[in-house]
Amino acid sequence: MEETNDKISGFQLSVITHFLTGAIFVGFGIISMFSLAGRDLWISSIISFIVCIIPTMLLIYYLNYNPDQNLFQKNRSLFGKWIGTIVNIILSGYVLFMLVLVLWSSTGFAITMYLIKTPSYFIAGIFVLVAAYATTKGIETIGRTSEILAYLTIIILIINIISLGTQINLDFFKPVLINGITPPIRHSLHFTSYLFTPLIMIAVIPKKNIVQNKKYKRYLIAGIYVGHFIMALTFTLITGVISSEIASFYRFPAYYVQRKVSIGGAINNLENFLSLYWFFNTFLLITMAIYFLSKFFEDLFKIKSKKINSITTYGISIIAGYLSLNLFKNTVDSIEFAKKSFPVFISTTLLGLMIIINIAVFIKKRKKKA
């Protein structure tokens, strides 16, 4: 199917990447990182800067293989029709799971903090239908949406940094490394897993769909590390302002710390506005995941009609919305899952699959050269 709205700028790619890095932290990552790493979380996030180099290189290496093809076409050309399709189904399974997970956490966040009596299906429905609508309009619309959200994000970040930065109490970071460096190293892997896992969705955008694609890698790396920096900053501000003990007490410590934001002592109670940033993250992940899955079906069933593609997109959204309502029995299960299962069963297996795919890319490149 020929698309007319299929171009995004390098900046938009960077912004989408940055939003994807933060999405899993909402409702899952932040609380589980605090309960795991406590006050040494800032150290884990710094170590994670280094750990992130490995998956970044893997992703870039993969993206450089037949750069003008999307992930599904790449896999088919790497593994052949049948195995390639199986790999695509597995990767789509991961994306569907992340979509459902993030929908669940966004709905939970909205219900807990804002709309206590609003039915969860209504909130999940609003989320997915808006995201599905953006998806049917093409990647250009997603890119432009992310760009608008980026400017709002800059305002939110400036307010947060200026206001919370002055409230940091350095004592809250002490004592440091009471159990040695090993736990922060281990927790940096958790950090990286929450941060990096959603980035597989970026591979659905072929290089040809990016304007200024010569600097494609730079924009991608900038997006990853800006996202990383914002998360590290978030953890530092939370620890410094309310202490890791208080942060571990709350399910949404990032929302709680934003209650302390005050502009000049006169403008207070900005937490609902400032926490929009977390919704931007989850919204972009939901949108990109629906886009990824609609592209998967388009590729799998060779859908040419725009109308059928739209129906598929809405169908995926409704199914994801329904699944998200029944994903976990309760919040405790979800936090336990984020802490123990997500890094092992989702991130590690996905990393393993990416390593296999990259080995295949390496062999293919060698064969081509030979």
């Binding site: 206590i116 004592d171 002490k174 208080i246 209650r259």
Partner: protein, 398 residues
């Protein structure tokens, strides 16, 4: 397609006008304070709600009578705070809204039993802000305190909250502990919480009538009275107003203090206002013994001087500085002694060792109660007198 878009847009207009949580202000009773007393079966909860007929705009709206009070207090009993609040709904004409709660009043008996019994609700509920003030009432029930009508400020909760803030800013008494600060103390290693103490003077029953505010000298009033001392979550004692000030200095929680001290041997006194008070706590370990140093600094202005000393002489200013510093060291030592007697580390001496001498703390953490009683505390005060206000002479100098 056009019709579908039109239909979706029309539907959006209907759907996006509000949400399930939509509540009209006129359907809510704004809770300004909540009081907790204990009973054998659980909690006695009292909520002070604002009577919107009497408050707002300064004028009584139609239908209100002069007999009505600006606040109404509802009470109920239950095993949990939430249940007690829910029970009040059966009595009140509107739904209670706790989002603007300013004050939590805790009775002495429940504070002695332990505040962990009821804190969870306030931490867990998303509607309640965690920045409201708390106070322990010494000689009355929490429900009684909420009923006392105060002059100047119509709403009792606002009146007490203002008193706590003003006591902190102008008198230097550290009283404005918010729920969040209390919880941080309970959750952090090495420091026990404190909560502002209040006291009722006069007859509580008379204080709940409009007569109490229609006189130039109210018979019943509520007064900020120092600070409570908790060990863990249990109340173990009180610090008086002066001791509360020195506690606040150690915690570096106040900016200005007013200090009166003897300026000669004839029982004459001077007063200085110290601005930019800085209290610094430092923990050291010397020969396996824990030591604490408290350093106090600030710049002062003489506000009253009732001794016969020539203030124009620089050497005399130096002498006055020494007198002031001596008084501060004396008062600080007295406060530390009192806190040691109560055996509750509200200063956070242990926290200093935990944060800065972790290995030492780990070795000694089980014996901290004994160590705290005997810990050596050195106090150093370095207050500089910068200004002598508008007089260069003293009234007694001639």
């Amino acid at each position: 397609m056009k019709y579908i878009k039109f239909f979706i847009l029309t539907l959006s207009i209907l759907l996006l006008t509000g949400c399930w949580n939509y509540r009209e202000l006129e359907d809510l009773l704004i809770v300004s304070a909540l009081g907790i007393d204990s009973n054998e079966d659980g909690f006695d909860i009292s909520v002070e709600v604002i009577n919107d007929k009497m408050v707002g705009g300064g004028e009584q709206s139609s239908g209100s009578s002069s007999e009505e009070t600006p606040i109404v207090v509802y009470s109920s009993k239950a095993k949990t705070i939430r249940e007690a609040i829910d029970k009040i709904i059966l009595e009140s004409p509107k739904r209670l809204y706790l989002g603007h709660m300013n004050l939590l009043v805790i009775s002495e008996d429940i504070a002695k039993k332990g505040i962990n019994e009821f804190l969870d609700y306030f931490m867990r509920d998303t509607e309640i802000r965690k920045t409201f003030f708390t106070t322990v009432v010494k000689n009355a029930k929490a429900s009684d305190v909420l009923k006392i009508l105060q002059p100047i400020e119509n709403i009792t909760a606002v009146s007490i909250q203002s008193s706590l803030e003003i006591a902190n800013v102008y008198y230097g008494e550290f009283s404005n502990q918010t729920l969040e600060e209390i919880v941080r103390c309970l959750f952090t290693t090495g420091r026990n919480p404190t909560i502002a103490a209040t006291e009722v003077t006069g007859d509580v029953k008379k204080g709940s009538k409009n007569d109490n505010v229609s006189t130039t000298s109210p018979k019943t009033s509520i007064k900020v009275k120092g600070t409570t001392v908790f060990k863990g979550d249990k109340l173990v004692g009180y610090l008086n107003e002066k001791e509360a000030i020195y506690y606040a200095v150690v915690r570096d929680k106040i900016d200005t203090i007013s200090l009166s001290f003897p300026c000669d041997k004839k029982d004459n006194y001077a007063n200085i206002i110290i601005d930019g008070v800085k209290g610094k706590l430092k923990a050291t370990v010397d020969k396996d013994e824990p030591k604490i140093a408290i350093d106090i600094a600030g710049n002062a202005a003489i506000t009253e001087f009732n001794c016969k000393i020539d203030l124009k002489k620089p050497s005399n200013i130096k002498k006055i500085e020494e007198m002031a510093n001596k008084e501060i060291v004396k008062q600080m030592k007295k406060t530390v002694k009192k806190v040691k007697e109560l055996n509750s580390d509200i200063f956070g001496f242990e926290e200093q060792f935990y944060r800065n001498h972790y290995k030492y703390w780990k070795k000694k953490k089980d014996k901290w109660d004994e160590l705290f009683k005997d810990i050596e505390v050195k106090v150093k005060s370095d207050i500089k007198i910068e200004r002598i206000s508008s007089s260069v002479e003293t009234a007694k100098s001639r």
